[in-house]
């Protein structure tokens, strides 16, 4: 059972945190919240509940006006380019135990959110205080960064403030700067088949609308990913294009062959084998490459046949 708003508020008072509180009708978005408290002292926050491909979860708490780019964040966390997306509704209930529209750093008080990583906008530090929901969206409270830290430390969390708008390069020599914020012993949540989640419309305090689960028809076999199939159809199309292209095909063969030749023809081998080197190298090529070349040749043939087959079923008979 998750903490209730009352339990949280009591805990904050125990920590001697001062917080003005404002009740209002249930709000699901920052815009709606602004209608009720926007005129009051305190900066509005937007809170995103995210997950990565390995079922690890994150809360990003930012000032409403801070630009948050999930692609950049994903790279800075070391998750690659498209590694972060909005978490599904079920996760909100299961892990944060808050209702829709109520993502808040305070949700980390719940045991179920133990492994969720929190990224705080460093802009919060420069504000006098900031609005958050206290586990329920019919109320907003304001706290300053110091008190927020006090709370987080009390539940064993290390407050991590991040310049969310920064876009440092990430590459071989520049490791992802936020990699330490990725949860390590992440709890594995049993995932239902992934539904499409897309971000649309006004910024919301919670994850956005779920599209309906994909309707499975036989003709176009769309895969729900229970087994983690890593390829998406653009990849399959790209690969089959290279297997349909004689240029690329020959290039691949030559690359593999020349790399063996180059690795075999070294001074020591020349010395050792002398005239035999040619035979030895060509034997090695046959042995090491034979199987692999046959495999890619079969893929090439199958791809060409498929193209012909497709053309055949679509061909229009001659008009008489």
């Amino acid at each position: 059972m998750g903490h209730t708003k009352e339990q949280l508020l009591t805990r904050l008072q125990e920590l001697q945190i001062d917080f003005p509180r404002y009740e209002h009708p249930v709000v699901l978005t920052v815009e709606a919240q602004a209608k009720y408290v926007g005129h009051l002292k305190g900066a509005l926050s937007k809170n995103l509940f995210l997950k990565d491909k390995k079922q690890r979860f994150y809360i990003v708490s930012a000032l409403a006006e801070t630009k948050v780019d999930l692609k950049v964040l994903s790279q800075r966390l070391g998750l690659g380019k498209g590694g972060l997306r909005m978490a599904p509704e079920e996760a909100l209930a299961e892990i944060l135990q808050v209702p829709l529209g109520c993502v808040t750093p305070f949700a980390l008080v719940n045991e179920s959110a133990r492994h969720v990583s929190l990224l705080l906008d460093q802009g919060i530090k420069s504000q006098e205080c900031c609005f958050f929901h206290p586990l329920s969206n019919d109320m907003s409270i304001t706290v300053n960064a110091r008190d927020l830290d006090k709370f987080l430390t009390s539940i064993g969390k290390n407050p991590a403030y991040v310049d969310l708008e920064a876009n440092p390069p990430v590459g071989k020599d520049q490791p992802p700067d936020l990699a330490t914020l990725v949860p390590s012993d992440a709890k594995i949540v049993a995932e239902p088949p992934e539904k499409q989640v897309s971000s649309q419309g006004p910024e919301r305090n919670h994850l956005s609308v779920n599209n309906h689960p994909k309707v499975i028809t036989v003709a176009k076999a769309v895969k729900p990913s229970n087994a983690s199939t890593k390829e998406k159809s653009p990849d399959a199309v790209n690969l089959s294009i290279s297997y349909a292209d004689p240029d690329k095909f020959v290039q691949e063969i030559l690359e593999k062959t020349t790399s063996i030749v180059l690795s075999e023809i070294k001074e020591e081998n020349i010395e050792r084998n002398g005239e035999q080197l040619a035979t030895i190298v060509s034997n090695n090529i046959s042995k090491q490459l034979g199987l692999e070349l046959k495999n890619i040749a079969t893929i090439f043939k199958n791809t060409a046949y498929t193209e012909g087959f497709k053309a055949g079923i679509h061909h229009q008979p001659k008009r008489m």
């Binding site: 076999a221 983690s228 199939t229 390829e231 089959s240 495999n295 791809t303 087959f309």
Partner: protein, 399 residues
């Protein structure tokens, strides 16, 4: 092909299409199995003959005794030498999306047979069976069939010689005529005896066996084979399928067809050992084709049952127990180089090589295999699946 009331023989091992248990938690005794089933051992002379006829080295599964038993394979080879061709038939019950290495074994071997003998192949996806036995919806079982087809195609079959079909798509016409002919030859009592049906089983199950028998006869595929060619059929399968094809072999002569020949494999062990069961619900019991390099390394290091001793001193003294060591078994399946395998077996058995080194080599081998499969799988489009599954003639299937 599930079964509710087969005989419980606690003393003996149990090998049926639905259950495989060894005697008293030990290993499967394959010699006893061959005796009991009445099939033949695939001995070295046969393997040499295959090598001679196909003019290429025999497949690693033959050399290592993975495929170790047969029925009438000699007749098939005799006919082949006379210039009579045969065709291959294998299949898969698409019950899950995730395939593991054990699933790939029969397909890897069938691909070799196709390339070595230059013969056509029909692959049956029994989506109807899984719909009935696993209680999947029709759409779901059809979807799984197509997904599995992609992994099967990724094993490298030649589209100009291969026909893949799903039962829901293909049953009808000549195929169905054969099904009825087969069904007329098998009494209800007989199927109950072979498959253990009970009065509670629904009639779908009872009438399924002819579906899996029909592909053994060339007249089921009029778009591939004409009536006058009475081609023989060779079926690579795991040995637990033997009782099943005995029904077909029994029926064949009564219908004027050749008995299908079988070439049979032993069981692929689970990571946790021979006594462990590979189960879809335990992802750590097997290596899946979707596993990343990291997953493979993890699974082998943590879950592969080791025959090594519990301490380095003991290991150096006594050596490893090769009989139960899973990495050695897996290397037996997938390490091509006979000399290297022999070396590892000797050194590990003598205690000079440690489990960690054996596992490291296995991880390399498996990672390469899975990576190659993944690449090939990524190149399989839906159009390619359509092409493989189209009912079309295969004009050069024997060349």
């Amino acid at each position: 092909m599930e079964n509710q009331n087969h005989e419980e023989q606690e003393e003996e091992q149990i090998v049926t299409p639905w259950e495989v248990t060894a005697e008293k938690g030990g290993k499967i005794d394959y010699d006893k199995l061959i005796d009991k089933f009445g099939c033949q051992r695939l001995d070295q002379s046969l393997i040499d003959r295959v090598a001679r006829l196909t003019r290429r080295p025999p497949h690693v599964f033959l050399r290592r005794g993975v495929f170790f038993a047969h029925r009438d394979f000699t007749d098939v080879l005799d006919a082949y030498e006379r210039g009579e061709r045969f065709y291959l038939y294998t299949g898969r019950g698409p019950s899950s999306e995730a395939l593991h290495l054990g699933h790939l074994v029969p397909f890897m071997f069938t691909k070799y047979l196709q390339d070595a003998f230059k013969v056509p192949l029909v692959i049956q996806l029994t989506d109807d069976e899984k719909c009935m036995w696993k209680n999947l919806s029709v759409e779901e079982s059809q979807r799984l069939a197509r997904e599995n087809a992609k992994d099967i195609i990724a094993c490298g079959f030649d589209v100009s010689r291969t026909f893949i079909f799903s039962d829901f798509d293909y049953v009808g016409g000549s195929f169905y005529k054969n099904m009825v002919k087969i069904a007329k030859c098998v009494t209800y009592n007989k199927v109950v005896g072979i498959f253990g049906f009970s009065g509670e089983d629904h009639i779908g199950k009872v009438s399924f066996p002819p579906v899996q028998a029909a592909p053994s006869f060339p007249s089921s595929f009029p778009h591939l084979f004409s009536d006058k060619d009475n081609h023989r059929c060779l079926i690579p399968c795991a040995i637990d399928q033997d009782p099943y094809f005995r029904m077909t072999r029994d029926v064949a002569p009564r219908l004027g067809y050749h008995k299908p020949a079988l070439i049979e494999s032993s069981f692929f062990p689970a990571l946790q050992g021979e006594t462990g069961k590979m189960s879809a619900s335990d992802p750590n019991s097997a290596i899946y084709v979707t596993d990343s390099a990291k997953d493979i390394k993890n699974k082998i290091n943590r879950y592969a049952f080791s025959g090594g001793q519990d301490s380095i001193e003991n290991h150096r003294k006594y050596g490893a127990n090769l009989e139960v060591d899973i990495p050695i078994k897996y290397l037996g399946f997938f390490l091509e180089d006979d000399a290297e395998l022999e070396y590892i077996r000797t050194e590990y058995g003598a205690g000079r090589m440690l489990t960690g080194e054996v596992k490291k080599r296995l991880i390399e081998v498996l990672t390469e295999l899975v990576e190659r499969h993944r690449r090939a799988r990524a190149a399989v489009t839906d159009e390619m699946v359509d092409a493989f599954m189209a009912v079309r003639p295969l004009p050069n299937m024997f060349s």
